[in-house]
Every structure is written in C-alpha cells, then in structure tokens.
C-alpha cells in the first residue's frame, strides 16, 4: 500500500501556514534517521530539541508523533507525509520497529474496542417504560418552553425589530438559556444566532425577520409532531434539540454504500473543539452527505477526510426527510486521490436540487452545490461579486476569496464545490486547468 494522498491534500491537513513551511523543511530524508516503511505504516525519527518518533498508519491515514507540539498534525507528521507522498519508493522497506508495532496494535484494539462498545450500547437492554417516561417529561418541558418562546417572539414583533438594535448580547442569551432549561438546545442556538444577525449587514432586518419566521414555523411544527410524516418529525425533533447519538444512527439510520468523493471540507477551531465539516457525494448514488467530526483542540480527527480523495465506504444517515448528515460506518477500501474535476451542474439546476431538498425539509441549512462551467465576475455598480453560468444566471457569493477565484479563472469557466443556503454561495474548492485549489478558509462571512 502506498500513501493515498497528494501533496496538496497533505498541505490541506496542516493546522496553519507556519506548519506548512516547517513541514517542507522537514520533508527531506536528510532531516530523518531510521526512515522505513512496511505494508501498513511509514515511520521515521526526526531530530528536534529531542529525537521524535513519527509514524503514519497507511490504511486510515492516521498519524502519530512523540513531539510535544499542540498542533495537529505536527510539522514532523506533515513532513513525513510529504516525503511519503512524493518519494514513497525511496523510503526503504524494513521490518517495523517495536514502537511502530505497538502503536499499530494499540490502534487496532482501540478501533475494534470502540466498535464493540457502540454495538454493546445498541444491544443493551433498556428499560422501555422508564425511557418513555423520560421522553414524555422532556416533551412537556419543551412544550412549556415553546409557549414562553412564542410569547417572546410576539413581543419582539409587537415592539418592532428596530428596537432590538440597542439590545446587548445578554438579551438574546437570556432567552436562549430559558430554552436550554426547557431541554431545547437546538432552539437555543437558533436564538443566539438571531443576536448575531442584528446589525451584521445592511439588510439585517430582513434576514432577522426570515429567521424569526422560520423559528416560529419550527415551534408550530413541533406542536404538530404527531401529524408529521416520521422522517420530517425526526427533523423537527433534531432541530429542537432532541438529537440521536452515533450509536442510535448506527443502529437505525439508513445506510448507503458507495464510492464517496470528498468535495470540500471546512475546519473550524472553536475555543476547545475543532470541527470538520466535510461534504461527500456518492459516485453511483449521486447522494450528498455531510460528515461532521469533532475533536478537542490539539488532537486528531478519528478518520481523516481529505478533500480531493475518493473513499469507498458505507455511511449511515441521520433520519431526515432530506438526509444530509451522515457518519462513516465502515471504510471498505483505502482512500485514493480523486483524479479529474467532479461533474457539476449549471446554476438553475443546482438551485432546483436545493429547492427539492427544502420542499422535503423546510429548515434545511446550507447544502453542497457542485457547479460546472461558471465564471466569477467582479462587482459592477450595484451588482455584487457573482458566479455566472452560460445562461447568465448570476449566483451571489459569500466569503473573502473572490479575488482568488477571479485569478484562478482568468475569465475561463471553473468547476466549484461549496455551500449554498438559499441566500449566497460559499465557494470552498475550485478546479481550474487540471488543478484543484482549496480556498483558504475563514474570513468575511456575510
């Protein structure tokens, strides 16, 4: 097995630009001692302030390093990955040293152990009566919270949205806390997001009213849960905050096996947790899937999802009328680089696809769009920066990478993957002239 990552994909894994630079300096055999590879692993020792041991498990693309860096992957791991990507054959094939073997062994037992724990949990006999009672109590709590939320919403509209501009964050937070107390954390985070909307851009009152209206629709829908089709009822429960944990999804979610193409991913570092949002599309099914991964800052994601790779795997979807979020049940073969640009559509049909999903789940947030043959056009007079397809349909863009898009295009059409939320498109991955470029993350959302 060789390393199934390209250089650009490895750079994409780097936590920051400094790590990229440092890793390039380390991507030379001269910087390493006892470099070696086996069927399952690549390893080496790198002289830093001490001698660090770095290794890669080829099947899962997992990396480990004994250095004290809080960054993940560290520069040593990135350097070793780069070397393995570019000069795999030059790394001598050797028996695995003891420290590599023991890690491989530990990884293996951890993975199987985890799977077994998940399975055990799914199998564990439950006290059905107690569980039903708890669910009933929570339902009552939520309904009471909704009554209070509706009064608060009505007050907002009675007094006028012009007034909320003067409100501090505490105004929104207090209402959000009440919803947390009512066991509806999903609604609570929607209320906090309302507070961030205020004053965020010129037409914020319109967007705020949109969001308030959709929140009111959600509270209306929860009261009629029993009259909704089960998949949509599952959506409403999830949006309110009654979430399923991974074991329940594994046990009950619809699964789909396919060759999944990882088309874009975003990494967001919160205060304590790093989140990866990766959009996948099935080569055969054409289904999209959003895989979210969370990890404490400074640790690694359980399974690396790298934009520009294809990954034969079985996914399980969270129950939904418009299934999007999924988890990886099992990888059926190692990931490998995705060759050419993915197939994309024109703007109208891409938006029609989104409208279909919205018709199934009206509270759907952002979803994956893959656009082909679109040209970025700079702002001109009242027209904002946009992506224009052959028909002339101009899709508004969000983010700060407009100039980079323009440079990558040079007036020529591009293929793009990114997120559309019904308001603006956030481009994430660009294919231009046989190259794939991930747009530098972050910055200037709306």
């Amino acid at each position: 097995m060789s390393l199934a990552l390209t250089r650009a994909q490895i750079i994409g894994l780097a936590p920051d630009a400094a790590a990229v630079g440092a890793s390039q300096k380390l991507a030379h055999p001269a910087q390493w001692r006892s470099l070696g590879r086996s069927a399952g692993a690549v390893w080496g020792e790198c002289q830093g302030s001490a001698l660090y041991r770095t290794q890669i498990a080829l099947a899962e693309l997992a990396v480990q390093c004994s250095c004290p860096s809080r960054k993940f992957p560290c520069k040593h791991a990135l350097g070793l990955l780069l070397m393995a990507a570019e000069g795999f054959e030059r790394i001598p094939e050797l028996p695995e040293p003891e420290w590599v073997q023991s890690w491989q062994l530990a990884r293996h037992s951890a993975t199987t152990g985890k799977a077994m724990r998940v399975r055990d949990k799914a199998k564990k006999p439950v006290d059905a009566a107690a569980q039903a009672k708890r669910a009933e109590r929570r339902h009552e709590n939520i309904l009471a919270g909704l009554d209070q939320l509706d009064v608060w919403l009505n007050d907002l509209v009675r007094q006028g949205l012009a007034r909320v501009q003067g409100e501090s964050w505490a105004f929104w937070d207090a209402q959000a806390r009440r919803l947390v107390d009512a066991q509806a954390p999903g609604l609570a985070s929607r209320v906090r997001a309302l507070g961030e909307r205020v004053g965020s851009h010129d037409n914020w009152p319109e967007r705020l009213l949109d969001d308030l209206g959709q929140l009111a629709l959600l509270s209306h829908a929860y009261r009629r849960l029993d009259r909704l089709a089960p998949p949509l009822a599952a959506d409403v429960r999830r949006l309110v905050g009654i979430t399923l944990d991974q074991s329940e999804v594994l046990a009950h979610g619809a699964t789909l096996e396919d060759e999944w193409h990882v088309l874009c991913d975003m990494i967001d570092d919160g205060e304590r947790v790093r989140t990866q949002r990766a959009w996948l599309r099935g080569a055969t099914s054409g289904q999209t899937a959003l895989v979210l991964q969370f990890t404490p800052l400074g640790t690694r994601f359980e399974s690396a999802l790298v934009t520009g790779t294809k990954l034969p795997a079985r996914l399980a979807y969270w129950p939904s009328a418009a299934p999007q979020r999924a988890l990886i049940v099992e990888r059926t073969a190692p990931a490998s680089p995705l060759g050419a640009a993915p197939a994309g559509s024109d703007v109208e049909s891409a938006l029609a696809g989104y409208a279909d999903l919205l018709a199934k789940c009206p509270w759907l947030g952002a979803s994956l769009l893959v656009l082909a043959d679109v040209v970025p056009l700079p702002a001109a007079g009242p027209e904002p920066y946009a992506l224009v397809d052959a028909s002339g349909a101009a899709l508004p863009l969000r983010g700060s990478a407009h100039d980079v898009l323009l440079a990558l295009s040079g007036g020529h059409p591009l293929t793009l993957a990114g997120e559309w939320d019904g308001y603006a498109f956030s481009p994430r991955t660009v294919w231009a002239e046989d190259r794939r470029v991930s747009l530098w993350p972050g910055g200037g959302d709306e």
């Binding site: 009213l209 323009l406 007036g411």
Partner: protein
C-alpha cells in the same frame, strides 16, 4: 420593502393595517389555512413561509460574462512546493521572498494564480519590481480588473511612476507620501521637485524636512534654486535638512562655502603625510548653524563641541577634496588620519562623507582603519557594517579571515551584500561545523548569506536536549539554520532555469 417587513420593523404595536401585511403569494395562502391567529403570530408565520419561498425559488439576476479571457502563459507554472513556500514567505519573510522571486524571474517561473491577489496588494516599490516579472499573463489580466492593481501593468522597466501614484499621493497618509516622494525622486527627480513646489505650502515642518532630505536621491544642479530657497524656510529643521542636502551637491554655492570653511580648519600635508586640525573657536558662528552645522553633539558621547563642529565640516565636503592633486589613492590619507590626535574626528568625518557621496575608493581603507582602531564613531553606530555593505566581493574576500575572527561578527555580516563571496561563506561554514560558539549570533545571518549552492545538506548536531548552555543555544540556532537552508535549497531546486 414589503409591508410585512415594514410592520415587523416598526412593530405591530404601532397600529397599521394587518390586512396590508397579506399578499396573494402561496405563502400567505398556506398560513391562511391555519385559521384565525393573533396578529403577531400570523405575521411571524407568514414571514417564515415567505423566507422559505424565497430561499427555494431564488430569482437570480442575469449578467453576461463580459470579461475578456486571460492570454496563454509564456512562463512556466510554479510547482506546488514552491507555491506553498511562497504563500508562507509572503506572510513572514521578506528576505527569502526577495530571493525566491529573483530566482523565479531568472528561471522564467510565474506565480500560481491563487497567490496573485496577495502579490498585487503589495505596495512596497522594491517588492513590486521583483513581483512584476513573475506575475505572468494571468497576473496582467487580473491587474486590469482593479484600479489599485494597475501598477503591475506599467512599463516593465519600472522607469515610470506607478499608475496609482496620483491617487495615493493625494490620499495617502504622511508616511506613505514620504515613500512615494522618495520613489518619485528615484524615477523622475524633476517631477518630484514639481510635486514638492506644489505641496510645500501645505505641509507640516517634519514632512517638509523629510521631503527635503529625499532630494539627496537623484540630486542635480536643477535642484539648487529650490533647496537654496529652503535655507530661509520658517522652520529651522527644514533649513538644516536642505543645507545638508546642498552640501552634497558639487558646485552648489553652499558646497563651495562649506569647502572654504573646512579648509580653514583642516588641511592635509602630502609631503609629510600629515593632517593638521585647528578647532574652530567658540561660540558657533550663526551662519554655520543656519547652513547645517548642529551645535550640540548627539547622545552621550564624550565629544567636545568644537570637535563636533569640525567633524561635521569634514562630513560636509567630499573626501576627494583632501586628495593631493593627481593622487587617487586614499590609503595614505586614511593611515595618517588614524595616527592623528584627532583620529576620531578625521575617520568619522571621512566615513560619513564617503558613504553619503558613494566615494567607493575610500570604503575599504576606512573599513580597515576602523578594524585596526578601537575608536567609536559619533555619526554611524557601526561604521564597519555601513562600509561593509558597500564593499565589492573582492574586497570582502580579502577580509574574510578578519571578518570571521571578529567579535562584532553579526552586525558586520548582516550588512554585507548577499549572497556572500565563496571565501567568506566557506570560512563561516567551517566555523559553524566546528561548533565555534563565537559564531552563534551570526548563524541566522549566515543562513541567508551563504550562497544556496554552498549550503550543506546537513550538519551533524548533538542533541540539544543533551547539552548544556551555551552549546545548547548554539545547537538551537543551527536547527533553525538547517530549516532555512532546507527551504532555500527547495526554492532553488524548484527554480532551476
């Protein structure tokens, strides 16, 4: 604005007609089906349904893709490792960025498109000049998309002012305008002089003084009337700045007056190879002060006022004016200066004068004189560093052994032109490989100065965790050296012509 939104912003408590909040859209029909609702609730649910409808049925404006197509490239594409390295260098390392861009230009390699916006946003003239040859056809195409980027389309020679000059000159802050004025002096001294004539009535004194100082660039006889006028500027700071520029204008009336003043107090006697110095009497002549001589010596240096005035007189006149007729070798004069009772004044004055006027023949002899003495300079904090920056590779090679043995190595090396001559580079490398601790401070400078083809693949290092200070600090510095060396080598490998 829809009636629904208007009502929501003003508040339903303000009255208004609830019926007008309703339209004939399917969203309203949907909400109507829910029956009688309180006004606020109905408004919110309508708003939600409208939002959904808009998100699902977004009507997009039409635009025609009217951009011209970028031309095909004639330069090679940059490799992914080079692109990654450049992205980092743009953020962090001007020295290495300059080296990388020069190598790219020589190898006819262009920047990757995704780096072009970053490149076009640069404003520093030297960096812009280095970027121009590597922007490629795509860079030229992109530059045409924004007025503030069109500098990249200017004549490749850089002989013209950038096209955004007027805009930035009229709108820039004081520091930016000083930079622009300097640039204008470099490219078109006459144009810069016109700018100054227009601008001076409106500028503050420190800005006027800065512009006056910039006249030293591209200084010519045409500048004399304007600068002479400044000798009666309302600010003494501007007067002095203008005077000190006029000192450097050969043939100007002031330069002539300064020469007479200097000769009245300092004289070189060729037959005896001796300097004669007669310090001026106190108090300072007011006309001297108006014309650029400062009364009080700077800092805390133990230099008497009369010595200080003499030193400035020396700096005010060309070194060559001391050479006996027909003689062009400064060696004897510098050697005699070093032996003189007022050696500090003579050497310092000659050094300042030579550096200001670019009198090349004096650099190496003065460098040697400072190296051989323990005098300190009043005018230049590191006279040998300043002189060293002007030495030719041959002059540096001849002094390599002396340089490496010097205990003030770092400032000396950091000013030398890069890349260093081979003889010096090899000596420094040998010292580093021998773990000579005195070289520690110079290691970061060496990482940049040693020609890339002489950089070793690796230097065997002890484990810095296992050794004590000061060797540990040395090893740490060397680890950094190896990283910079690896980066430079990889840039060089990606830019082979």
């Amino acid at each position: 604005m829809s009636e629904l939104l208007r009502a929501a912003i003003l508040g339903t408590g303000q009255g208004g007609d609830p019926v007008s909040e309703r339209s004939e859209s399917p969203a309203d029909t949907l909400i109507d089906a829910l029956g009688e609702l309180p006004r606020e609730r109905a408004l919110l649910l309508r708003a939600g349904a409208h939002a959904l409808l808009r998100r699902a049925g977004r009507v997009l404006p039409r635009r025609s893709p009217s951009l011209p197509l970028a031309a095909a490239e004639s330069l090679r594409a940059s490799s992914p490792p080079l692109t990654d390295a450049l992205r980092m260098l743009f953020e962090s390392d001007e020295d290495l960025l300059a080296e990388a861009l020069e190598r790219m230009a020589r190898a006819r390699v262009r920047l990757a498109p995704e780096l072009l916006p970053l490149a076009l946003e640069q404003t520093e003239p030297e960096l812009r000049a280095r970027l121009k040859p590597v922007l490629g056809a795509r860079g030229a195409w992109l530059a045409a998309q924004r007025p503030e980027w069109t500098w990249a389309l200017d004549a490749a020679s850089g002989a013209a002012l950038p096209s955004d000059f007027e805009l930035r000159w009229s709108e820039g802050n004081a520091a930016e305008r000083r930079g622009l004025f300097t640039l204008a002096r470099k490219l078109s001294p006459a144009h810069a002089r016109e700018l100054a004539v227009d601008a001076f009535p409106h500028e503050k004194a420190d800005q006027r003084a800065a512009f006056a100082e910039a006249f030293a660039i591209g200084l010519g006889a045409d500048d004399e009337p304007f600068l002479s006028g400044l000798l009666s500027d309302r600010s003494a700071v501007v007067q002095k700045a203008a005077a000190r520029v006029l000192w450097r204008l050969p043939g100007s009336a002031l330069a002539q007056r300064m020469l007479e003043r200097a000769r009245a107090h300092v004289r070189y006697e060729p037959s005896a190879a001796r300097w004669h110095v007669r310090l001026p009497a106190e108090p300072l002549d007011p006309s001297w002060e108006r014309e650029g001589i400062r009364e009080v010596p700077p800092g805390t240096r133990q230099l008497g006022q009369r010595q200080w005035w003499t030193l400035q007189l020396m700096a005010a006149v060309p070194c060559a004016s001391w050479l006996p007729d027909g003689d062009s070798d400064p060696q004897l004069l510098v050697a005699a200066a070093r032996k003189h009772e007022h050696a500090a004044i003579l050497l310092d004055g000659l050094t300042q004068s030579a550096l200001m006027r670019g009198e090349r023949a004096w650099f190496a002899p003065l460098w040697d004189a400072w190296a051989a003495s323990d005098l300190t300079s009043t005018l230049t904090s590191e006279p040998r560093a300043a002189l060293g920056a002007q030495l030719t590779p041959e002059e540096i090679t001849a002094r390599a052994a002396q340089l490496v043995a010097d205990d003030r190595l770092r400032p000396l090396l950091s000013h030398l032109p890069r890349p260093w001559p081979e003889a010096l580079a090899l000596r420094v490398l040998a010292g580093i490989s021998d773990l000579r601790l005195s070289l520690r401070d110079a290691i970061p400078v060496a990482a940049l100065g040693i020609p890339v083809e002489l950089l070793p693949d690796s230097i065997p290092l002890p484990d810095s965790g296992q050794v004590e200070y000061p060797l540990r600090a040395f090893v740490r510095a060397l680890e950094h050296f190896q990283q910079v060396a690896a980066l430079r080598r990889s840039i060089a490998a990606e830019t082979v012509p």
